[in-house]
Symmetry: D2
Subunit: 378 residues, 4 copies
């Protein structure tokens, strides 16, 4: 065995630790090689309570023993002193203000909430797609008057997986013209208590509030460019139009999507399209990650995209945990008869791992590797 | 009370009476004002058995008492003498030959099976869409050398509802250019035993064998024209391209669809599109049916299409039985951002009522009203 | 047709009309031959609103059109003037006081709430078991100082079906010694939003707050005697001990029970026991109902108990609607090897029809037929 | 790190490798420290096929890579030469003869099938209950005329968990008089395709063929004594009577049971009963296992029984994987009002891990540790 030595673990805090995303954070941070969960916060009614008594635990794995006895804190910066990195699984109703308070108090905040995603100076990062958007951080700090703190958001749970698949096609097949997606989303995406059983048992609900707009607008930012010039900010991907139709289905974990894609231009025939897309999926390597020393991360999947060739995959119950829930699983890639240059396929991503807490933690690892946290870690 | 008198009921037989579609036939023919279930047939292992002993009954209503004691016959014309009209819920594996034998033996056969749907002289009829396709019958008889018998098919369960909605738009909004549909289909559509519970409980299966091709090809025929000239047959609807992506979901009854439609031409803005489509849905009256005396039919719904304005409807568990399962329920009509002139909406149809046995029976009623059965009923 | 004439319909009101039980009341009162739904009440946030706008409707049948446009009233006697009969589907949190206010204001109240069930002068009536307990009404009126009003409760949803089956055995087999029941209860029993889908999808929850105690205590009162002497009240059934273990299962409607029964005495062998119990179930006629003119009631099932002989029935999805949801369905009657004189069987009752609104309405019909409402109806 | 050295791994074969139990064997043997999966067998239609092509895989973890490419063999001894230990997940239809052929060919066979469980010389072993029953092996060999081979069975999936809980009470509380259990069993217990989705979605089926008899008879043998004297065999536990009522519920993995227990004698009050039972559950250590060097086994759970004190646990979705699926989880221990000295409680066991493949493998480990395989391993 080599005489290598890991650097000491960085203390991190989680806001919203009792919610569904918070519980997933707890599991993913358990035994994490770089981060140590040192403080947890939740809403006032839980503050001062032992975690195991405050939480209505819904994971099939047990509460991490070290967490069970931690006392829940108020979501205020003073309670998280010593934790330079903060993960937020807060509800949108409170996330906006609370997260900003932490940034202004010089914490690095990685948020799952929707509140700041579309802010012109906040990176919206799917770690296996656009980690380079973190380059906005110095400009964000300057604008907000902070020295070391910053705010990074990750995408909506139903956006994340699609962003990875579209990035692979955009980079390796052709520019994207039209994307139509019908989602079939798991109930864990609605939090707890979330969806009433009378609404969803043996049923499909063809509506998830605000979801379609999020998918349509977030994809344009994620797949677009970051500007680090005199006019810092983000430029939406030009030319791509997206239309989403969102449904809730009686599935525990794993958001499915039936996706139709039209490519913008190029001369490949439809058959070639299918081959090119399969190749893009099988060989996709997230841009820029190769150079980072993230090898120890349990959250970096061996394959960002896993292509299944079976006729009836992916399926949420069987495939959501592919790559420990951090891989996007695609299948049924075939020609789409309504487009000259188009394909259709099925997509699956674990909504609370890749689609929420997992991406948030991986974003933090990347930010550390890219040295944006150095000032915080001194 | 008026001194009207209903004509005597016509004796009918059902082939495949023990299957899921056959059971639905049994329920829909119970107390039917024009048809009387007089003979039932099934596979050899059930022949000679009392129905209640032969069937694995899966409906939430009980077996019709008159049927319970009927003896199951072999699916041969000789066993159905006296029943001029035959409904077929046979499996595709045997339907092709058996149905044709009945036609050649001078029965009127109304079939749910896929075998003959695309035959150039067989009408593929969604009763609330293209009943006029029955006008091919004389040409079919001539070609097959029969005097009174004929064969009418109805569409695949996931095609039927979509055909109604598309017909309404095609007639009252604009020509159709592109149709993309993602289905979420109920397990009863797969028959019994059909889908194994380990495959579908808490899961979605993104594949139904042959289903996508059926939707794509059947719609073109149904929405197309019938030719009753020197070259009798059917002409596919020109200009419309269809792409389907089919999924099985853990729902008992009711096939859902998320549909995206692009219109071919015209100057209405997108907003106008949505209004025009809603109006087309709300006011749709099946062409030609007004003149037929079908008023007594329990299978003719008050509204062929029911438009829901709530944000989260239709839902299979709540809405599949709208119009006793014979109405198409649509909702969430809204603009589709990827098309200049397009909309998206959600569609629901009961797969074993409107999507199977119900349409078959209504087709027979229409054929009687259009006097195609007169030679048989003498 | 005879020249009979139905008496005019009695106007009734429903409290808690937006809840799950209230919605069931609405469906069961639709087209009721004796009762006319004339006023509806709900919690303050719905008051003044059109019903269709106030309710989150969960039934698979649509909202009765006449109800859709009714304006929701406050649950105060003044708003229900002209409705001598009041049905209550109120939550226990408010039912206690509100129902009593209506009684004191001289209404006949039929309640589903648990609050007054065990009161020594309030009859707890399962209509097909102990309608004679209504004889306490005059004593109740005297004690409470009212002239025409009174209060009748019906049993907990999981108690009701069991009470019918036990009464049949107690009357026609032998005295009951021990009853052990494990329930598997539907989610609709918990109201709306009720059980969170994350708790119950693909799961069983072995706990329903307070349910076991209700079953154990209510059965003793229902199966016991009414005293209409100098010490009016109820005497628990002596000798019977009950133990319940309650579970929630992912079923929409229909509470199942696996029941084990030991009889107290007698010399029949175990085999005879099974036969005697089957006979008791098949032939059970509710005591006293024969003499009442309830024949027009859509809520009086043809058979109070339906015995299934198939090896795998009853099942909630197939059998809950037996007798329009008012029959108790039993099956799998067999010897119980741990008792000398005992049997085990499976029981099913529709929890919101027989187990709630249906029994309440039938209780009111019986009370009318027994002339307890005469003073109210003048 | 010490200079310890594990002995070389023993090659094992699995019969019935494509079924549900076989798939679980595959996962549990992956990375097993003592056993190496070296040969796999299945029915004739799979023989000669690559495993990944032959199997319809239903686990949420992927096929072990080493297994994916193995070629499926016929279930004949000659194909398993070099594998002294054979695990059988065969269907009962073929298990009887095939397993016996392997024993006579001098293999040690550990079987999940029901065929030989009640044979007077075959041990029926729940590893955490009655490992000492393996002492019958020399007598079995003599009777069957084999030198090294032998046959060990494990119990039915719904018997296993209950046996552990009853053994803890029998050893540490009081003799058992009556046991009544209502099971709520997962669909994976029925194999694949097993239960049709139309039968179980949103439903409960109150019947599992043969299951109740198995529970009642197997428990008496497991909890009874082994005779290794002049009349070798097994003596049923005297005094205990068992009654089971079995139900199928829409749950993937994990058999639940609502259990009622009456103790035979003793003076503790009911309250003391509950305390004594909780203590027995919390402190239960399987007899005899302490002395065996099984410490490296991934299948020996830290706690044979895990007692939950929450009011609503255990639940299959949350708790079935406790102790990696090898712990029995109990909860809701409380007095049972129908018995002087009795309790009721809820029990959960993973039906394909503890209830099938896991117990089989642990039985093999124990047999190796008890040196019954020494002749085979030379």
């Amino acid at each position: 065995m080599q005489n290598t030595q890991l650097p000491p673990r960085i203390k991190v805090g989680v806001l919203g630790i009792t919610g569904m995303v918070g519980q997933r954070f707890a599991l993913l941070l358990q035994n994490h090689p770089r981060f140590e969960l040192a403080a947890v916060g939740a809403s006032p009614r839980s503050v001062g309570t032992r975690y195991a008594d405050a939480v209505s635990w819904h994971m099939s794995e047990p509460i991490p023993p070290a967490l069970a006895d931690m006392v829940v804190q108020a979501c205020e910066p003073v309670a998280f002193t010593g934790c330079p990195i903060i993960f937020s699984g807060l509800d949108a109703a409170v996330a906006g203000e609370l997260e900003m308070a932490f940034v202004l108090a010089e914490f690095a905040v990685f948020s799952n909430a929707k509140n700041h995603r579309m802010h012109p100076l906040v990176p919206l990062v799917v770690p296996l797609v656009n980690a380079h958007h973190l380059r906005i951080i110095p400009f964000q700090r300057r604008a907000w008057g902070v020295q070391r703190g910053f705010l990074v958001t990750n995408a909506n749970c139903s956006t994340t997986g699609l962003a990875v698949a579209l990035q692979a096609m955009k980079c390796h097949v052709a520019p994207l013209a039209r994307v139509l997606v019908t989602t079939m989303q798991a109930i864990s995406g609605a939090g707890y208590p979330g969806v009433a059983s009378l609404n969803i048992l043996g049923n499909v609900v063809p509506h998830i509030g605000g979801e379609e707009g999020k998918i349509e607008s977030e994809l344009a930012k994620i797949l677009g460019a970051v500007r680090v010039n005199a006019e810092p900010g983000f430029t939406n991907l030009p030319g791509m139009r997206v239309s989403a139709s969102c449904n809730r289905v009686p599935v525990i974990d794993g958001h499915m999507g039936s996706v139709f894609v039209e490519f913008a231009e190029g001369d490949p025939s439809v058959d070639t399209c299918v081959d090119a897309v399969k190749r893009a999926f099988s060989t996709y390597i997230p841009p820029g990650l190769k150079t980072l020393s993230l090898l120890a991360s349990p959250l970096l999947p061996a394959h960002a995209i896993v292509l299944r060739e079976e006729v009836d995959r992916p399926q949420p119950r069987l495939d959501a945990l592919t790559g420990s829930g951090m891989s996007v699983v695609v299948g049924r890639v075939r020609a789409c008869p309504v487009f000259e240059r188009g394909i259709k396929f099925t997509l699956l991503a674990h909504n609370t791992v890749l689609g929420a807490a997992g991406s948030s933690i991986l974003n933090a690892e990347i930010a550390v590797a890219m040295e944006y946290c150095d000032a915080l870690l001194k």
